[in-house]
Amino acid sequence: MKPDLELEAWRDQWQADTQVPADLRRKVARESRNLRLLLGLEVLVTLVMGGGSTLWAAIEPRTEMVVLAAAVWLFLGAAWTFAAISRRGIWSPAAVSTAEFLDLSIRRCRKKLLSAAFGAGLYFVETAFCLTYPCRPSSSP
């Protein structure tokens, strides 16, 4: 097959340019900020939900409360495991090039879609657990 010299020359010129378009750079920077913010919120939710349920189980050490606290940690663990796996490789571009920035942006979009599906599934499981779990506050005499 005859090599397409014109295309090869254009590709060389195009890919030699390391200037990332400003709007793409800004978009990736904004997404990175949002990712960090989301991480902070997740830590907060973990502390409030996990810490709260553990504290509750410590104050009121009934079997139901201990099981509830364990379930909360189980759900938190599932969410953190998914987050750790799905966020691998989406924190920063592998190189300062348009292709890499674009690739990172696409990878982040795909992970967001995956996270939405996982979040919906987890929400369904948690709701089912909350509705069926026979945990009631201790009745006062």
């Binding site: 254009w10 590709r11 010129q13 890919q15 030699a16």
Partner: protein, 78 residues
């Protein structure tokens, strides 16, 4: 001792060619700019067809026209 530093004139010429190519690509209508950008980023026809949601023959037709327009735009002195 031989000078191993890159030739500044060649570097400048290369930069100017790159800038001319970028200007020409930005001057293309969106329909053609899409295919040309994907082609220059190294995508194959089947990948472009998948990304743009069109057939491979359509990609080929658009690229053919886009390359013609790109050549004309690059010949225009700025």
């Amino acid at each position: 001792m031989a000078d191993t530093a890159p030739n500044p004139e060649a570097g400048l010429a290369r930069e100017q060619q790159g800038a001319r190519l970028r200007r020409a690509v930005h001057g293309l209508p969106l329909l053609y700019r899409q295919v040309v950008t994907l082609l220059l980023e190294g995508m194959e026809y089947d990948e472009m067809a998948q990304v743009l949601g069109i057939s491979e023959s359509n990609v080929g037709a658009r690229l053919s026209r886009a390359r013609q327009m790109l050549r004309e735009l690059m010949e225009v002195p700025r």
